[in-house]
């Protein structure tokens, strides 16, 4: 569903946001049917930001890369079309909403901010993610959440509505990944997804953080090196509930549906999974 400026204006009016029309801009990424270069598109975005734009709508986006790269500030970008690789790379603050699928490496080394994908995600989402929130409605690819980090109360979150593939949470050092295993039918209703919720090598090399999978399948033989199935207690539930509520609101998922299946939690066996692999002895 295309989101255009008028819809935003209406939404703003409905919610009584204090924002002037000058702060909303619509950019066509393929004027005259010819997609423009990513450099030009990103230039336009930066110019708008410098002119105090708060909401930027991009139409006909067709594979342009690095949208939102190193962008800072209280800004929202709405993308109609398919953004190219490295969406939100090094981003530090803004919110990006994608009306459809996205390519690989979303939120690469992102520090802070929010990215919402109303579609499928690609591979390597949240590589070295340092903070912020990534919500993806449908399925994602390989190596999602690879080397996510956290420090004290700076904890990044990735929530996936559908399923993931191999190497989920590879080398995780911190942060939270939640996978729901749901499927959206064309009429908007939400049902259980019958595809496997994750692939092999789950959490391989994990040494911090946790992965929540909403499934009752046996995950033992999917575990990677250094990962173990941990207890999903009240503490864990409390930790993820606020994010699940926000996520469900975003995509119109009944929260009860989410809780009608148990979660399994994957955590590291130790902080130092490879301590025994290497030996140092005088030769």
């Amino acid at each position: 569903m295309q989101v255009n400026k008028n819809m935003i204006v209406n939404e703003i009016k409905e919610k009584n946001y204090e924002i002037s029309l000058k702060e909303i801009i619509e950019i066509d990424a393929s004027p005259n049917g010819e997609p423009i270069e990513y450099r030009d598109l990103n230039n336009m975005i930066h110019k708008s930001v410098n002119n105090n734009c708060k909401k930027i709508v991009l139409n006909n986006v067709c594979g342009q890369r690095f949208i939102g790269a190193a962008l800072q500030g209280d800004i929202e970008i709405i993308i109609n079309g398919i953004p190219g690789n490295d969406l939100g790379i090094f981003m530090d603050g803004p919110k990006i909403f994608v009306n459809g699928n996205c390519e690989d490496q979303v939120a690469n080394t992102m520090n802070h901010g929010m990215i919402i994908i109303d579609g499928d995600g690609g591979d390597v989402i949240g590589l070295s993610l340092r903070g912020g929130t990534i919500y993806i409605k449908k399925d994602v690819g390989y190596r999602v959440g690879i080397h996510m980090k956290e420090y004290e109360n700076k904890i990044p979150i990735i929530i996936v509505g559908g399923t993931t593939r191999d190497f989920l949470g590879e080398y995780m050092a911190g942060g939270i990944v939640i996978v729901l295993g749901l499927k959206f039918l064309p009429d908007g209703s939400v049902v259980e997804n019958k595809q496997p919720i994750c692939g092999n090598e789950l959490g391989t090399g994990i040494h911090g953080g946790s992965i929540f999978l909403r499934t009752d399948a046996n995950l033992e033989d999917k575990l990677g090196v250094g990962a173990k199935i941990s207890e999903y207690g009240a503490n864990e539930k409390a930790k993820i509930t606020p994010f699940l509520i926000e996520y469900c609101k975003n995509f119109n998922i009944p929260i009860d549906l989410v809780y009608n299946k148990p979660f399994q939690v994957i955590k590291p066996i130790s902080k130092r999974p490879f301590g025994g692999t290497y030996c140092s002895q005088l030769i």
Binding site: S30, G33, P35, Y38, N60, V61, C62, G63, R65, G81, I82, G84, N85, N101, E103, D104, D120, G122, D123, D139, G141, Y142, R143, R165, D166, K194, Q195, G199, N200, D221
Partner: protein, 397 residues
């Protein structure tokens, strides 16, 4: 466009392998409808971040209906003398039905443009080997031993058009828009350590099999030696060459079904195989044991076009999923599209407001997507290697 290095790499670079990053695309019309190259050009050129102007190419199937029973050689020559030498050579081994230039657009004044040529050929009957083996021999001989000449493709009713330039430049040069084909492949290249040469661009072709490849094969040495023991000569300084020959060996010579050839190229891990039922374990372990030197290691996404016995398009990525591949199917399920990025499909929507895809998905690592004439999409690339019993092509589970 680079108007040099048509049929070989400069001496200084000859001993090196070329490393590529690239963009690949392809589509097939299952009912055989032939369409112009405009779509493939759109699909490929939007992937321009994946190329650096040093090579691009297209493969088109079904473009010579009038000559469909003859082998269509596509040549590049440096000199007229080389062209005459090759034509002479061909005369010895069969009949030249028609011999003509491949029409090209050259803008501006070029000192030494390449001579692009096509020959429709009928090989002599030879009681020692079949006509396909004859053609393979001819191709290997010309590429290895006749200087200043290069065979771009050697299939029936199909052709490869490639060179050293940007994807849109090559499309323009060969007038791709003017051909009509039921299956198109496209490739744009990012070679890193040579200035590129016309013959080194993709697609790589042997007989009716063409391959476009994104990635690098770390098992190249092993694969090449395996192929050499079957008589193939790897002369093109690029690892993609072994993929085309491996598929030729497995599918044409060993008559292995495409889906099983894909397993030989990207087999499941042993710890996965251990989970299969006994009968399947035997099959998969034997495929791995017998064809261990055919296994492709290293990051890759490939799209393969075959037209014999049944026109087929196959997409496959490596089993660690180190390169991207996206697949889409049209609303009427008659056309299957593959590309490195979904942007290719989006581009088609921008060009044509009525263009829509019924479904877009990412195939699993090491799992082939196969679309065949007449049968449609027989493998989506989402199956676990065995469980596909009751699936209609569009059903996920």
């Amino acid at each position: 466009m680079r108007w040099e290095n048509y049929t070989s790499l400069p001496e200084a670079f000859r001993n090196q392998r070329v490393f590529d990053g690239c963009g690949i695309s392809g589509f097939i019309n299952i009912d055989g409808t032939r369409v112009s190259g405009e779509k493939i050009i759109d699909m490929l050129c939007i992937l321009k971040e994946r190329e650096n102007g040093l090579g691009a190419g297209y493969a088109a199937y079904g473009i010579y209906p009038k000559f469909k029973d003859y082998y269509a050689f596509h040549f590049i020559f440096d000199t007229d003398a080389a062209k005459l030498k090759v034509l002479d050579y061909l005369e010895k081994y069969g009949n030249i039905i028609q011999s003509e230039p491949i029409p090209t657009n050259i803008c501006g004044d070029i000192d030494k443009p390449p001579i692009t040529w096509r020959v429709f050929f009928e090989p002599m009957r030879n009681k020692n080997q079949n006509s396909e083996a004859n053609i393979v021999q001819i191709v290997m001989e010309i590429n290895a031993n006749i200087n200043n000449a290069f065979v771009m493709s050697s299939g029936k009713n199909m052709g490869v058009f490639k060179g050293n330039g940007w994807s849109y430049e090559i499309a323009n040069f060969y007038k791709i828009k003017e051909y009509k084909a039921y299956m198109w492949l496209g490739h744009s290249r990012f070679p890193t350590n040579t200035p590129g040469w016309w013959g080194g661009a993709h697609p790589f072709n042997l007989l009716n099999c063409s391959v476009v490849h994104n990635g690098e094969i770390t098992s190249y040495g092993t694969n090449r030696r395996f192929l050499e023991s079957f008589g193939y000569k790897c002369t093109l300084f690029t690892d993609t060459e072994v993929i085309a020959y491996l598929i030729d060996l497995l599918c044409r010579r060993h008559k292995i079904p495409t889906s099983i050839a894909a397993i030989a190229l990207a087999p499941p891990l042993f710890n996965e195989i251990e989970k299969f039922n006994k009968k399947s374990q035997i099959i998969f372990k034997n495929i791995r044991a017998t064809y261990r030197s055919a296994m492709l290691n290293g990051p890759f996404s490939i799209v393969v076009g075959i037209s014999d016995p049944v026109p087929t398009m196959m997409g496959l990525s490596d089993r660690k999923k180190l390169r991207p591949l996206v697949v889409g199917i049209s609303e009427d399920e008659n056309t299957v599209y593959m590309s490195s990025e979904e942007a290719s499909f989006r581009r088609l929507m921008i060009t044509n407001n009525n263009f829509g895809l019924k479904e877009i998905w990412h195939p699993k690592s090491g799992t082939a997507v196969i679309a065949k004439f007449g049968k449609g999409l027989i493998k989506k690339g989402l199956e676990s290697p065995l469980k596909m019993n009751n699936l209609s092509p569009m059903e996920v589970v």
